[in-house]
C-alpha cells in the first residue's frame, strides 16, 4: 500500500490509536467523518456548478435530445437513483470515463485516495460509513494503478452484493477483465470474487470463464480466474452456466502449472459437489494427478512443502474423488489403491511439526477416501493399525485426529474387531492424566487453550468408545465410563453420562443391570444426568413388571445414603410412590417407613421435585389401604402444610390430594398405577444425535453415512402392550397432572383406569373387554393411524413369532366378561402381546379407510355409567363427549360432538332409539360440523319405570367421502335415577323387615358385620319415589363370592335392580390379592374390597 507520503492518513491513524478510551476515539472519528463529508460535498458542488452542464449538454447533443433536461437535473441533485440512471445512460454511449472523471474534478487523486483510505479505516474500526461510496466506486475507473487499487479494495470491503452502486462499476470491471493489463485483471478478479453478487455472476461469469481457459494468459491470472469463478459458482450456482464444462475441466486438469491446477481443483470440488454425475470423465485425470504428486514427478521446487509435493493439491484431489461413488474401472481403481497404499505406508511421525501437519492432512484425507471406496478388508485393517499407532502417540493433535478418524471409520465399515484391539488404549486416552503434562511442550502448535484441546481428545475417545460398543463389550465399557465419571472433567460429564445411559439401554444384558447402571450414574454425577435419562428409567420400569419391585428396592437403598442428589430423590420418589407396595413385606419398607425416608429429603429439594414427591405421598397413602392411621396423619399433615405453599403447582397438588385422600373410591380410580408407556425411540438417542450433528463436517463420507440405516435399535424385553397402552382420552374428572407425575416428556398420557380396575388386572381388561352387541366396531380397541406406526415398527422386528397375525382371530372374538374374570392375575403379561398383535392385525386387515374408535367403547360406557361426564366415543375424526345432570326421574344429557379433523364432517345424523322404560328427546344435531369445532346438543330423559334397557344413539357422519355410522349405547342406566338416602341403622332394619320376602325382597340374610347395606331412592314417573334397600354380603375369608339382596316396595324394580347390579359386578374384573380398596362413602360403609367399592360407586 502506498501509504508513504499520506501524512493526513497516518496522522489520523496515530490519533485514533492514541485515544485513551472509546469515547475519545468516537469523537475523533466523528470529526474526521465530518471533514470527509465536507470535502466530498465541496467537490460535488464544484462539479454541478461548473462542468456537468457542459457534459450534460454535450451528451444531449450526442444522443438523446429529448432526455436532456431531466438529465441535467439529475446531475444537479446526484441521488443514488439519479446516478444509476445517469450511469446507465452514459454507459449506453460508452462514456463512462468521461462521467467519472467529471465527478471527481474537485479533489486531486492524492486527496481522493487519502479520504477513501480513511473511510476504510473508520469502517474497519466498526463505525458506520454510509456515504462516499460514489467516490470509492469512481476510483475504480481511474487510470492509475494506485487509485484503481484503492477503489477495488475499498469497494470490496464497503459494499456488499446488494448495493446499487455496484451496478455502476460492472462495465468498468468488465473492461478491466477483458483488457490486456494483467495487474488490472487481477485486481478486478479479486474484487469480483470477494463481492460475488448475482449481477456480477450474470454479466461477468462468461468473461471469467473465457479467461480461465484462455491460453494466452499468464498462470497468475488464470489462477485468480479459477478462484473467482469458484466463488461466483458457489454464490449462484444457477446463474453461472457450466454446461459442457466437464470437457473443459478435463482439459484444465492437464495443466502443468501446479498453482493453476490447485485453483482448478478447488473449482472442481465445488462443481462435483453439485453434480457428481456430470464429471465422471475427470476421475482418471484426478487419479493421474494424484499419481504424479505421490511419485513427485515433475513438481517444481516451489510447490513442495517440507519435501511433500503440494499437500494442498493432494488433499483436494482426494476430496474430489470422494464425491464419486465407488470407481468401477479396474485399472483406475488399481492405480488409485496403489497411490493410497503409498500414502498410507509412506507417512510417519517426524520431528518437524509443519511437516507432520502437512503429511497428516494428506494421510487423513487418504483414509477418508479409503473408507469411501470400501477398500478390501486388508487395507482397512492396515488403516486401523495405522490409526492405532497414532492413538498411541503422545502428541495431542495426532492423537485427536487418530481418535476422530477411528470413530469415522467405525461408522462406515466393518472393522469393529480390529478396533477393539485398541480398546485399552482408547480408554487410557479417555483418562490419561499425563496428557496435560505433555501439552506444554506442544502448546505453540495448538490454537485453542490447551484445556479445551484436552477435552476434545477425551470427547473423541468417548465418541469412539460409544461407537465401538456392542453387546460383547458393553458391560466393560459402561463400567469404565461409570468409573471415570467421578474423575472426569466437568465439561465432558454430561455427555459421558448421556452416552453411558444410552449404551446401558442399548446393550443391557438384563434390565436390572440397566437400572443399576442408571442409578449409579445418578449417584455419581447427579448434576449431569439430564431429566431424559431418568424419564427413560421410569418408562422401562413401568413397562416391565418384573423390574418394579427390584427397582423400588434399589431406590430405597440409595435413599438411605447420607447425601442424595436431587435427581435421585426424583427417581426414587417416583418409583417408591408407584411400587413400594410391592416391597411391603420386606423389613424397613412399610409405607410409613418409606414415607419417612422420602420425606426426609423433602425440605431440601426444589419445588418441581416437591410436587413430584407430593404425588408419591398420595400414592403411598393410596396403596396402604386400609390406611394406617399414623401414615395418614403424617401425609395429610404434609398436604395441609403445603396448601398455602407459594408455588402454585405444589399448592394445587397439596390441595387436590388432600381433598382426594378423603374421597375413598374415586381416589382409587384416579391414583391407580400408571399404565404402560407406548414404545418409542429413546429420547436420549435423539439427543445424542443432535449433539453429534454439529461437530463433524459434512463430507462425502458423512453424507453416505446418513443414508445408512441407523444401527441404534432399542433392544428390550418390554413388549408393547398395544391395546392396554392405547391412550384413552383423558377423563375430565381426573385432576390435572395427577397422572403425569412429573413426566412431561411422555406425550400421550393414558389416564388411570376409570373403572377402578386394579393394576395387575389391567392388561387383562384391555385384552378382552366385552363387546357391546350394538357397536359395530371390533372389540379390542385398535390404535389410531399414527400410533399404529409406532407400534408396528418395533413389533415387526421384536414380537415373538407366536404373536403375529396368526394370533389375531383368537383374540378378536370378543371374549366374555367371565373369561376376563377367570384370567389369573399373574398372567397379566400373557394376554397382552396377543392384544397388541391383534390390534395390529386388525388394522392391517381393515385397511386404512375404515375409521376405528380409539379405545374401547365398552370401557367408555362402563365408566360413564358411574360418572357424570366423560367420553362416549372417539375415533380419529370425531370425539363424542357426554355431560349429564340428574334430578329425580328427569335427566338432561349434553352430547358434545367434536370434529378433530381439518375437514368438515358432513351429513351428520343422530337419532336416539328409546326403550319403553324411558322417554328421550334429542334436539336436532346440525348436519355439518366445521373443522376443529364442537357442537353440543342437549338430550332430555325421563324415567318411566325401572328397567335395564338403555337408549341407543344411532349416529352417522361422513368425512372426506368416508361414511361412518355408529350405534352407541347411551349411559342412561338405572343408578342414574338413584339418590342416596340417609337412613339410620335401626330404621334400616325396620324397613328391611317391613318388606317381606319375594317378589319385593329378593333374598333373605342374617345380620352380619361384614355386610354392607345401602339405601337409596329410585325416582321414576310411574312409581314416583321408591325406597331401595340393598344389602351386599361377602365372605370375609374369600372375597370372591358376593351375595346381593335388593329390597324395594315394587317387585319389578327389585328384579331389575338385582339384575343390574349383578351385571355391573360381573363386568368388573376380579381384583387380585392386594387390592387397594378405597373407603366407601355410603353411610354404612366399612372397609370392603373390590366389588363393594364399585357398588358403592354405583350408588
Amino acid at each position: 500500500m502506498a501509504l508513504s507520503g499520506m501524512r493526513g492518513l497516518s496522522v489520523f491513524i496515530s490519533d485514533v490509536r492514541n485515544c485513551q478510551n472509546k469515547e475519545q476515539e468516537r469523537l475523533r472519528v466523528d470529526k474526521e467523518l465530518a471533514n470527509i463529508r465536507t470535502r466530498f460535498k465541496n467537490e460535488r458542488v464544484a462539479d454541478s456548478g461548473g462542468r456537468d452542464l457542459g457534459v450534460g449538454s454535450s451528451h444531449v447533443h450526442s444522443a438523446h435530445g429529448c432526455g436532456g433536461p431531466s438529465f441535467v437535473l439529475d446531475i444537479k441533485c446526484p441521488t443514488v437513483l439519479g446516478l444509476v440512471q445517469l450511469e446507465q445512460m452514459v454507459i449506453m454511449n460508452g462514456m463512462t470515463f468521461l462521467l467519472l472523471r467529471v465527478n471527481f474534478q474537485g479533489l486531486t487523486p492524492y486527496e481522493k485516495k487519502k479520504y477513501v483510505w480513511k473511510m476504510l479505516y473508520i469502517y474497519m474500526l466498526g463505525y458506520d460509513v454510509d456515504f462516499g461510496h460514489m467516490e470509492t466506486v469512481a476510483l475504480i475507473s481511474a487510470p492509475k494503478y494506485a487509485e484503481k487499487q484503492v477503489g477495488y479494495i475499498v469497494t470490496s470491503c464497503l459494499l456488499n452484493e446488494n448495493h446499487d452502486f455496484l451496478r455502476l462499476v460492472i462495465n468498468t470491471v468488465r473492461n478491466d477483465i477483458i483488457g490486456r493489463n494483467e495487474t488490472f485483471q487481477c485486481l478486478a478478479l479479486t474484487m469480483v470474487g470477494n463481492v460475488g453478487g448475482k449481477e456480477f455472476s450474470e454479466s461477468l461469469a462468461p468473461d471469467v470463464q473465457k479467461l480461465l481457459i484462455s491460453s494466452t494468459c499468464r498462470p497468475l491470472v488464470r489462477k485468480k480466474a479459477a478462484l473467482c469463478l469458484l466463488r461466483l459458482y458457489r454464490k449462484n450456482p444457477d446463474v453461472v452456466n457450466v454446461d459442457g464444462w466437464s470437457e473443459r475441466m478435463v482439459q484444465l486438469l492437464d495443466e502443468k502449472d501446479i498453482g493453476v491446477l490447485t485453483a482448478v481443483m478447488s473449482l472442481l470440488v465445488s462443481l462435483v459437489a453439485n453434480n457428481p454425475e456430470g464429471y465422471w470423465n475427470c476421475v482418471p485425470k484426478c487419479v493421474r494427478t494424484l499419481e504424479r504428486l505421490t511419485r513427485s514427478q515433475d513438481i517444481p521446487q516451489e510447490y513442495t512443502y517440507y519435501g511433500i509435493p503440494s499437500p494442498w493439491l493432494q488433499v483436494k484431489t482426494m476430496r474430489v474423488l470422494q464425491y464419486f461413488p465407488a470407481i468401477e474401472d479396474p485399472t483406475i481403481r488399481r492405480s488409485l489403491f496403489e497411490v493410497l497404499h503409498r500414502i498410507l505406508m509412506g507417512t510417519d511421525v517426524v520431528k518437524n511439526v509443519n511437516k507432520n501437519n502437512a503429511s497428516h492432512a494428506v494421510l487423513f484425507e487418504a483414509l477418508a477416501l479409503v473408507m469411501h471406496l470400501d477398500a478390501e478388508k486388508e487395507m482397512m485393517s492396515q488403516c486401523v493399525a495405522l490409526l492405532g499407532r497414532f492413538i498411541a502417540v503422545r502428541e495431542p493433535n495426532i492423537r485427536y485426529l487418530g481418535l476422530e478418524n477411528m470413530t469415522r471409520m467405525l461408522l462406515v465399515t466393518d472393522v469393529q474387531d480390529s478396533i477393539k484391539r485398541h480398546q485399552a488404549q482408547i480408554i487410557s486416552s479417555l483418562k490419561d492424566p499425563d496428557i496435560r503434562l505433555e501439552f506444554s511442550t506442544y502448546n505453540y502448535t495448538v490454537a485453542e487453550p490447551h484445556g479445551l484441546q484436552l477435552l476434545c481428545i477425551r470427547r473423541r475417545s468417548l465418541d469412539l468408545l460409544y461407537g465401538m460398543c456392542d453387546v460383547s463389550n458393553a458391560k466393560d465399557i459402561v463400567e469404565e465410563l461409570l468409573q471415570y465419571l467421578t474423575t472426569a472433567d466437568f465439561g465432558i460429564r454430561e455427555e459421558l453420562a448421556l452416552k453411558a445411559a444410552i449404551l446401558a439401554e442399548k446393550f443391557a444384558p438384563d434390565l436390572s443391570w440397566y437400572v443399576d447402571v442408571i442409578l449409579q450414574l445418578i449417584e455419581k454425577a447427579g448434576d449431569f444426568v439430564s431429566d431424559d435419562i431418568w424419564y427413560r428409567v421410569v418408562q422401562f420400569v413401568t413397562n416391565n413388571e418384573d423390574l418394579q419391585a427390584y427397582s423400588a428396592a434399589k431406590a430405597r437403598e440409595y435413599l438411605d445414603k447420607p447425601a442424595v442428589h436431587e435427581t435421585m430423590v426424583k427417581v426414587a420418589g417416583y418409583l417408591l410412590g408407584e411400587y413400594s407396595h410391592l416391597l411391603a413385606r420386606r423389613s424397613g419398607c412399610s409405607p410409613k417407613e418409606i414415607f419417612i425416608i422420602v420425606h426426609d429429603k423433602f425440605p431440601t429439594v426444589t419445588t418441581s421435585t416437591k410436587a413430584l414427591l407430593l404425588s408419591a405421598y398420595v400414592k403411598l397413602l393410596m396403596h396402604s389401604q386400609p390406611p394406617e392411621p399414623e401414615l395418614q396423619e403424617l401425609v395429610l399433615g404434609v398436604f395441609k402444610k403445603y396448601e398455602s405453599y407459594v408455588d402454585a403447582e405444589v399448592q394445587q397438588r397439596a390441595v387436590e390430594y388432600f381433598a382426594l385422600s378423603r374421597k375413598g373410591a374415586s381416589m382409587m380410580d384416579i391414583l391407580a398405577e400408571m399404565p404402560k408407556f407406548p414404545e418409542r425411540q429413546s429420547a436420549l438417542l435423539k439427543k445424542a444425535e443432535d449433539t453429534e450433528g454439529d461437530s463433524a463436517e459434512l463430507s462425502a463420507t458423512k453424507l453416505r453415512l446418513q443414508q445408512q440405516v441407523s444401527t441404534a435399535l432399542v433392544v428390550s424385553d418390554a413388549k408393547p402392550n398395544g391395546a392396554s397402552a392405547v391412550p384413552l382420552t383423558r377423563l375430565s374428572s381426573a385432576p390435572r397432572n395427577i397422572d403425569q407425575m412429573g413426566l412431561p416428556e411422555v406425550a400421550p398420557q393414558p389416564p388411570p383406569y376409570a373403572n377402578g380396575a386394579v393394576p395387575r388386572a389391567a392388561p387383562a381388561t384391555g385384552a378382552a373387554p366385552p363387546a357391546p352387541p350394538a357397536a359395530p366396531a371390533p372389540a379390542p380397541a385398535p390404535s389410531p393411524a399414527d400410533l399404529l406406526g409406532d407400534l408396528m415398527a418395533p413389533l415387526a422386528i421384536e414380537a415373538p413369532p407366536g404373536v403375529g397375525p396368526a394370533a389375531a382371530p383368537v383374540a378378536s372374538t370378543p371374549a366374555s366378561a367371565i373369561l376376563a374374570l377367570e384370567a389369573p392375575p399373574s398372567a397379566g403379561l400373557a394376554p397382552a402381546p396377543p392384544a397388541a398383535g391383534d390390534s395390529l392385525a386388525l388394522a392391517l386387515m381393515d385397511g386404512p379407510p375404515q375409521v376405528q374408535p380409539i379405545g374401547s367403547i365398552a370401557d367408555w360406557f362402563r365408566s360413564l355409567s358411574i360418572k357424570e361426564s366423560g367420553v362416549l366415543y372417539e375415533d380419529p375424526l370425531i370425539q363424542i363427549g357426554i355431560k349429564t345432570d340428574w334430578r329425580g326421574p328427569h335427566g338432561r344429557m349434553f352430547l358434545f360432538f367434536g370434529n378433530k379433523n381439518a375437514a368438515p364432517l358432513t351429513s351428520v345424523k343422530a337419532v336416539v332409539a328409546a326403550p319403553s322404560n324411558l322417554r328421550v328427546q334429542l334436539t336436532t344435531v346440525p348436519e355439518i360440523i366445521p373443522p376443529r369445532a364442537q357442537v353440543q346438543s342437549p338430550l332430555d330423559v325421563v324415567c318411566i319405570h325401572a328397567s335395564r334397557e338403555v337408549p341407543v344413539l344411532d349416529f352417522s357422519y361422513t368425512s372426506v367421502n368416508v361414511p361412518v355410522s355408529l350405534k352407541l349405547r347411551l349411559p342412561v342406566v338405572m343408578n342414574k335415577f338413584l339418590q342416596a338416602t340417609p337412613v339410620s341403622a335401626p330404621d334400616f332394619v325396620a324397613k328391611w323387615r317391613a318388606l317381606a320376602g319375594p317378589p319385593t325382597k329378593l333374598q333373605e340374610v342374617d345380620p352380619n358385620p361384614n355386610n354392607i347395606v345401602a339405601a337409596a331412592t329410585f325416582y321414576s314417573e310411574t312409581g314416583g319415589a321408591t325406597l331401595c334397600l340393598i344389602r351386599v354380603e361377602t365372605d370375609p375369608a374369600d372375597r370372591t363370592q358376593v351375595r346381593i339382596t335388593v329390597a324395594t316396595p315394587d317387585p319389578t324394580t327389585s328384579f331389575e335392580f338385582k339384575e343390574f347390579i349383578k351385571e355391573q359386578l360381573i363386568e368388573i374384573p376380579y381384583a387380585a390379592a392386594p387390592p387397594p380398596p378405597p373407603p366407601a362413602p355410603s353411610p354404612a360403609s366399612m372397609g370392603l374390597t373390590g366389588p363393594a367399592a364399585v357398588l358403592a360407586g354405583l350408588i
Binding site: 485513551q20 478510551n21 469515547e23 468516537r26 469523537l27 466523528d30 470529526k31 467523518l33 465530518a34 471533514n35 463529508r37 465536507t38 466530498f40 460535498k41 465541496n42 458542488v45 441533485c77 446526484p78 441521488t79 443514488v80 454510509d130 456515504f131 462516499g132 461510496h133 460514489m134 448495493h163 452502486f165
Partner: protein
C-alpha cells in the same frame, strides 16, 4: 444507620484502580474485576447505576473521568451510598482546589487515604464537613515542636469537642475584621416545549448558597417572599400581607445548621452558620415560572441533501438585565456535510461530534430582544435510504444574573451577635439553564 459501603474504588475510564479502600471484609479484594468485566466492558454502562453481580451490589457514578464504585454485599441503603459519594467528592474538591479527576487523585494519594479513613468507618458514613475536617487533616507538613517561631505555637483546635458539641459545624472564637455575608440564589430552569410553543414540562430547582465571614457565634434569620413564611408573619402581626408575589416552594431541604423546630413553629429560617461557604437550602418550584427565553425554530428539509434552519430566540427578562454565555444547539442529521450561517449576533458553527449546529452569543440583551440564526445545511447522500431523521429537541444553555425564574426574593437577612457588630450583607441572584429543550 444503614451500611453505605463495604469498599470504595476509584477507577479511571479504562478500568484501572486509582485508589481503593476496603471498609469491611465481606467483599473480596478482586470485586472490582467483576465490575470491570461485567459492567464497564459491556454496553449497559450508564443505564442503571446499581448493578448486582455475584451477590454484591455495585453502585457507581462517573465524575469527570473517574468512576467511583461502592461495593456492598449486604442490603445497603443505596441513597445513603450515593449521597456519601457526592459529599465525598465535594470534600475532595474543596481540598484539591476545585478539580476532581484522575490527575487530582494521582497527585493526592496520601491525602485521599487520610480522608477516606476519616469519612467512613466500617461502612458507616462519618463527618464529611470540609470545615471540620480541615481542622485536623491539613495539607501542610507538620511543623517541628522545636520550631523557633512563636506565632506557630497556636494550640490546635480541640477537634473532638468541636465535633461532638452542640454546634458541631462552627468553631468558637472566630474573629473577622470586616463582618460580611454573601448570599447567592442560584436557580436552574428545566423546560420542555413542544413545536407549537406549548409548555410540556417546566420546573425550577434552586439553592441558596451562603458565604459567611462573621465573628463569634452569630444567629442569622432569613426572610424570603415565600408563601408560608409571609402568611405566618401576617398572622402574627394581625394585618393583611403586603401585596406582591408570593412564591410556593416545594421540597425544601435545609442545611443541618437551620433550626428546624423554629422553622416548624415560626416558619422562619434561623440558623447559626458554619464558617465559610455552604449550601443553606434547596427547593423546587413548579408553578408561576418566568421563562427567560422563548425559542421559535423552523427547520425545513429541502429535498434529500439540503436543509434550512431558522432559529429565533427572544429574551423575556427585564431590559436592564442581560444573559451571559447563551448557547443554542440545533441538532442536524448525522450525514451533514457543511452549513452556511447567517446570524444577527454571536457566532455559529457546525459541530460534527455533537451532530449539532452550535450558536453562541456571549451577551444577550434583555427586554424582548430578538436574535436570529439562519443556516443552510447541506447533507451528503448516503446509502441508507429510508432512515428518517428523528429530530431531537433544540437545547439551550445560558446564565441570567440578577434574575430568578421563580421570582424568589430575599426580604431580609438579619444578624444578631452578642457583641452587636454591624455586618454587610450581599445578595446575588442568578438563573441558569438546566435542561432547556424545545422540540422542533
Amino acid at each position: 444507620m444503614p451500611v453505605a459501603a463495604s469498599a470504595i474504588y476509584f477507577l479511571n475510564l479504562r478500568g484501572d484502580v486509582l485508589i481503593n479502600r476496603l471498609y469491611r471484609d465481606d467483599v473480596g479484594g478482586n470485586m472490582v474485576d467483576a465490575f470491570r468485566t461485567h459492567i464497564m466492558q459491556t454496553k449497559d454502562l450508564g443505564t442503571c447505576p446499581v448493578r448486582q453481580i455475584g451477590g454484591c451490589s455495585f453502585l457507581y457514578m462517573r465524575i469527570s473521568n473517574v468512576y467511583i464504585v461502592t461495593v456492598v454485599s449486604s442490603n445497603a441503603n443505596a441513597a445513603c451510598a450515593f449521597k456519601f459519594v457526592v459529599e465525598a467528592v465535594a470534600l475532595f474538591k474543596s481540598y484539591f482546589g476545585g478539580a476532581f479527576d484522575e490527575d487530582a487523585i494521582r497527585n493526592n494519594f496520601v491525602l485521599i487515604y487520610e480522608l477516606l479513613d476519616e469519612i467512613m468507618d466500617f461502612g458507616y458514613p462519618q463527618n464529611l464537613s470540609p470545615e471540620i475536617l480541615k481542622l485536623y487533616i491539613t495539607q501542610e507538613g507538620v511543623r517541628s515542636p522545636f520550631s523557633t517561631k512563636p506565632q506557630d505555637m497556636r494550640p490546635p483546635a480541640n477537634a473532638t469537642l468541636q465535633v461532638t458539641g452542640a454546634v458541631g459545624w462552627r468553631r468558637e472564637g472566630l474573629v473577622y475584621k470586616k463582618n460580611e455575608v454573601f448570599l447567592d440564589i442560584v436557580e436552574s430552569v428545566n423546560l420542555l416545549m413542544s413545536q407549537k410553543g406549548n409548555t410540556l414540562r417546566c420546573d425550577v430547582t434552586g439553592k441558596i448558597l451562603m458565604k459567611c465571614f462573621l465573628s463569634g457565634m452569630p444567629d442569622l434569620k432569613l426572610g424570603l417572599n415565600d408563601k408560608i413564611g409571609l402568611e405566618k408573619e401576617a398572622q402574627a402581626k394581625a394585618r393583611p400581607s403586603r401585596s406582591g408575589k408570593t412564591i410556593e416552594l416545594d421540597d425544601v431541604t435545609f442545611h443541618q445548621c437551620v433550626n428546624l423546630t423554629r422553622f416548624n413553629t415560626e416558619k422562619t429560617v434561623s440558623f447559626v452558620p458554619p464558617d465559610g461557604e455552604f449550601e443553606l437550602m434547596k427547593y423546587r418550584i413548579t408553578e408561576g415560572i418566568n421563562l427567560p427565553f422563548r425559542v421559535l425554530p423552523s427547520i425545513k428539509e429541502l429535498g434529500r441533501t439540503r436543509m434550512e434552519v431558522n432559529v429565533k430566540v427572544k429574551s423575556l427578562f427585564g431590559a436592564k438585565m442581560f444573559a451571559l454565555g447563551v448557547v443554542v444547539k440545533v441538532p442536524v442529521p448525522k450525514h451533514t456535510a457543511k452549513a452556511n450561517f447567517q446570524v444577527t449576533a454571536g457566532r455559529a458553527k457546525y459541530n460534527a461530534a455533537l451532530d449539532c449546529l452550535v450558536w453562541k452569543v456571549r451577551k444577550f440583551p434583555g427586554g424582548q430582544t430578538e436574535l436570529t440564526m439562519s443556516a443552510e445545511v447541506e447533507l451528503i447522500s448516503t446509502m441508507v435510504e429510508k432512515k428518517s431523521w428523528t429530530r431531537p429537541p433544540i437545547q439551550m444553555e445560558f446564565q441570567v444574573p440578577m434574575f430568578t425564574a421563580s421570582g424568589l426574593r430575599v426580604r431580609f437577612l438579619k444578624v444578631w451577635e452578642k457583641s452587636g457588630y454591624s455586618t454587610v450583607e450581599w445578595v446575588r441572584y442568578i438563573t441558569r439553564a438546566g435542561s432547556y429543550e424545545i422540540r422542533c
